[in-house]
Each structure stands twice: as C-alpha cells, then as structure tokens.
Symmetry: C2
C-alpha cells in the first residue's frame, strides 16, 4: 500500500502496538482457509495481494486493549470479520465490474464472475465455520445479525441505482448497512470478548458505527475527487453505475428545479463529457465541502465517545484511526 | 410442480406423514427472513415460486422420525438447510446464466446479476443467523463445515469447465461437494438432533450422501435427455457451459483416440448441430445406460443402509425418496 506520510506513520504505530496480534490473526485466517481446495488456495493467494489496511481486525484488537486486553478469542473474531469483509469486496467487484483493486486485477478480471461469486461464498462459509469454533453461539448470533444487515444494505443500494432523487436518509440507510455495521460489529466483538459491561460494549459499537459512516463518506468523496493511480483502483465507478452518493445528493438538493433537470440528464448519460460537467458543478457549489464536513462531524462524534474511556495509547490510536478514515487521500 | 404419477403419489404420502412439520419449517423460514428489507422480501416472494420438492427438509424430518421423533430444533435445522440450498440455487443461476427455473424467470433474468449475488448472500447469512439460535455451536460447526465443502465443490466445477478429459474420480469429487454434502448434512442433523448414537448419525449421513450423488447423476442425465417443458428450466446447459458430466465422461472413456478427438471438437463447439451429433453418439453407445446403472447402484446402496433400522413407514418413505431421486423424469 502506498500512503501519505500521516497514514504510514499511523500504521507504523499500529504495527508497533499490535503487530504480533495482527500476525496471529493472519495465522488463524490462513489456517481456516488451508483446508480449502487447491483452486481456492490460488484465488486466495491472489486476493491477499490486494488486502488493505485491515481496519476491521485493528478495530477488534485495539478495542480489546482499551477494555481489558486481547484474548485468543479476539484473534479468531478479527479473522472472522476480515474474512467477511473480504467476501463482500470480492462480491462487490462482480457488482461493480471493477477491473482492478489496489493495483491488482480483481478476481472477476483475472478469472471470471463465476469464480468471484463462489470464492466469495467460500469466504462467507469459512467465516461462519471459524466463528462456530468459539465455545458459545453468542458471537455467531452477533455476526449473523450484522452480516444480514450488510447484505441488506448492499441490496438496497442495487435497488436504488439510477434513482437520482435518492435523499440523504436513504443514503445513510444504505451505508449504515453496507459499511458501518461491520465496523460496529468489530468494536462490539472486541469489547464484548474483553468482558466489558453491556453499556460500554454498545458505546464501542457506536464508535465503530460512526467511524464506518465517516469512512464510507470519505470513500464516496474519493471516488469523485481521488487520483486513480494513488488509489490503485478504478474510480468514478459510482457515476458510471448511477449510484447516488452524498456529494451528488447535496448537489441535487441545492439545485433549482431547472438545474436539477440538467443534472439528472448528466447523471443518466455518464460519458466523459457529462462526468466532467458534473465535476465542475460539484466543485463550483458546496457539495464537496458539505460532504467533508459531514464526515468530519461524524469523526468528532466518534472521538468524543472514546473520551469516556481512561486515556491510553490504545485509545489514542483508535481516535487517530477515526481521523485517518476521513483524512486519507486514497 | 407438475409430476409423474409415481412422484405425485410419493409426495402426497410425505405430505400426509410430515405435512404439519413441513408447514412449521415454512413458518421458521419466513420468520427468519421477515426481518429483511422490503426489496429482499419481494425477491424472496419471487424465488419461492420456483421452490422445488423440499428434498433436504424432508430428509431432516424423516430421518428424525426414524430415530426418535421430530423436535423443535429439527424445524429450525430444516429451514436452515433449505435456505442454504436456495442460496446456492440463486448463485448457480448467475453462474449458469439460466433464464428460467421451474417455469419461473430466475432472479438474474427478472432483476439482474447483482441482485442474485446479494440476495444469495442474504440467504447464506440468514441461514447462519438462524442456526446460531440453537443452544450450542454444534449445528453451526456442522453446517459451516458442510457449506465449505459445497462451495469448494462448485469452485472445482468452475475450474474444470472446458476440461474435456475430466475423469470419473474428479466428477465424483465435484458432486460430492456441490450436491451430496448438503443431503448428507440434512440426514446428519436429523439424526444427531434426534439423539441417535454417533455410529447411526454417520450411517444416516452416508445414506444422504449416496442419495445426493444419485440425485445429481440423475439431474445431469436429465440435462441431456430431459424434456425442457416438463422440467420447467433451461436444459442442455451443461453442454453449452462445457461441463463434463458422467454420460459424457463415459462416452469419452469408451471412444477410440480418433473418436475422442472428434468428440472433443463437438464439445468445444456446442452449436445445435454439434449438440445433436453428441446426443446421437450418446444414444448409440452405452453412456446413458451406464450412467443410469451407476445412479441405481448408489440408490441400492443407500437403501441397504436403511435396512439396518427397524422397519417403519418413515424408513419406507426415505427409501422411496432415494428411488424417486433417480426415477423422476424431471
């Protein structure tokens, strides 16, 4: 992963703090999938080349450290959430018909859509199999409930494609499911398995939820403003897939009815000229600034929640992760 | 479902025997998915129109009755295996680009591939969520393990597409995973949750496995010989997808090297003329008879296993289900 100075510094501090635990998570992850057939192993090796920041395992582990310390269950749970996240990425690439992710060909581009669908399924089933290795069904129930919400959020997003009148409430409902829920789950599991009190578990889940919302809004912003080379993935795909994201929703909501009609036309015909015209409109108005402010406000809210915990380097890292979610340039 | 006289008679007897329990399974199934978003509910209502024989729930329930009786856990488990089966069907229709199943447009034809992928994911996650409502992780572990094998079998099948030299051993490895495993799981869960002894649980799983193999072989045979109207789904898709099934493997193994080269050409160019030529070759040789005999032998083996149980109408129904697996005409 290439990165700006701030992000590489943060990730180095994370590595120093929980590097050994992240390595154990990797071991659990690899051991669960080692039983797979040789083709699944090949696809996995390929997919691992585009693994990202491991945000979700980091959330599990740092939350645990803030609230009593990391236990073996946390390594298992961190591997489970990462596996589920990877499953959704592999399936997303089918949905978005994406050709590259983090500079590497996606599974559907390297093999085919069938392989993406089935390999994603394998990751889902292995994640649940791994979760069931814990002594009780509690984690399975929490994971099952959250993954239901993740899939339903994604399903709503697909249904709403091409609906240029999507409003903020509907947008937030989608990203609550598709992104915030898995971040909330990561923190919830981290806290619960550190044996935190019920109220603290829910506060940490809320922290994860707010961070996840901010992260997704920043991602949607980068899809319109980012540098494709630095991001290492195809950008502008939201426009070509007719997905309404917060900057576009803001643009529409601030437009006169004549302007809105013109914007709808541009959204419906996403050739390069229309895209350029849309970008100009977005830059001239307050859409980007508004979106950034919304993300920053969510980050502030999430950091305030953590202020209730005793100060520690782990708490600091969690707050820095939240800020990083919106300050990153890719 | 339209059916021949034998199958409608069998299903009527099943209905008389466990109709009330099947209705409870339906209730559990619907309640689990009722929490879903409205779009998921629409897609589900559509998918339910092509629900089939409910073979797997029937296996769970009849196995339970043979070994101590149906308990509330069996209704939950039967709904779980049916949900997993439905998830694999919805994803299969993406893979096969099938347009109809049981006379109804598939999800990908009615909506799009994205919806199929995500709705299939929803069914998987809800199945695991439902399984985690049982008191211990035992069922989750068994279900996780089996679904891993199902997905890996399907993945191997995709990898082997276009490999016209696939041998019987590789074919059986594929169908062990993609079909036999879920039938084995159904019987294993039925027996385990009736508190049968460990050896009996494994014998029942073996019965399910053999029945599943026979069922898949019969299905592959019907794809080449069946009547598209009676089947209510697109047939001949194995040929157009370059999937080698038992009749084709037998044809290749009995051919001289010259004939095999000619068959490979026909398989690689599956236009209507090539398909017709292949069907003629299959009919002239022993490929269909050989395949039918293999399926019948598996059914006999499976029925013999059940002879160890005390005779009962439930045991009889299970044996009749096994015979029906190969005798059905669609």
């Amino acid at each position: 992963m290439t990165g700006n100075v701030a992000s590489s510094d943060l990730l180095m501090r994370v590595q120093q703090r929980i590097g050994q635990d992240l390595a154990k998570v990797e071991e659990v992850f690899a051991a669960e999938l080692a039983s797979s057939n040789p083709f699944a192993t090949d696809v996995l090796a390929h997919v691992c080349r585009f693994r990202g920041k491991r945000l979700r395992p980091i959330l599990v582990l740092l939350t645990a450290r803030c609230l009593g310390g990391i236990r073996p269950e946390h390594h298992v749970l961190a591997a489970v959430v990462e596996m589920i996240h990877m499953a959704t990425l592999v399936h997303d690439d089918v949905l978005d018909e994406a050709a590259t992710r983090r500079h590497v060909a996606t599974v559907n581009a390297r093999w085919n859509n069938e392989t993406s669908v089935l390999f994603g399924d394998c990751l889902f089933t292995h994640a649940f199999h791994l979760a069931s290795s814990l002594p009780t069904t509690e984690a399975c129930r929490m994971i099952g409930w959250s993954t239901n919400r993740v899939c339903e959020g994604e399903l709503t997003q697909v249904r709403e494609r091409g609906n240029f009148d999507l409003d903020e409430a509907a947008y937030f409902e989608i990203i609550e499911g598709k992104t915030a829920e898995l971040c909330a789950l990561s923190c919830r599991l981290g806290a619960r398995y550190a044996e935190a009190e019920a109220a603290t578990v829910e506060e940490m889940a809320e922290f994860g939820r707010l961070l996840g919302l901010a992260f997704q809004i920043a991602d949607d912003l980068l899809d319109l403003t980012g540098d494709e080379h630095a991001a290492g993935k195809s950008l502008g795909s939201d426009l070509s897939l007719e997905k309404m994201t917060l900057p576009l929703i803001r643009l529409m909501s601030e437009a006169s009815s004549d302007e809105a009609a013109r914007i709808r036309q541009l959204l419906a015909a996403p050739d390069e000229a229309s895209r350029q015209a849309l970008r100009t409109l977005l830059e001239e108005g307050d859409a980007f600034a508004y979106t950034r402010d919304r993300a920053l406000a969510l980050v502030s809210q999430s950091c305030e929640l953590l202020d209730r915990l005793p100060p520690s380097p782990d708490r600091q890292l969690l707050q820095d992760m939240a800020r990083f979610a919106v300050e990153r340039t890719h």
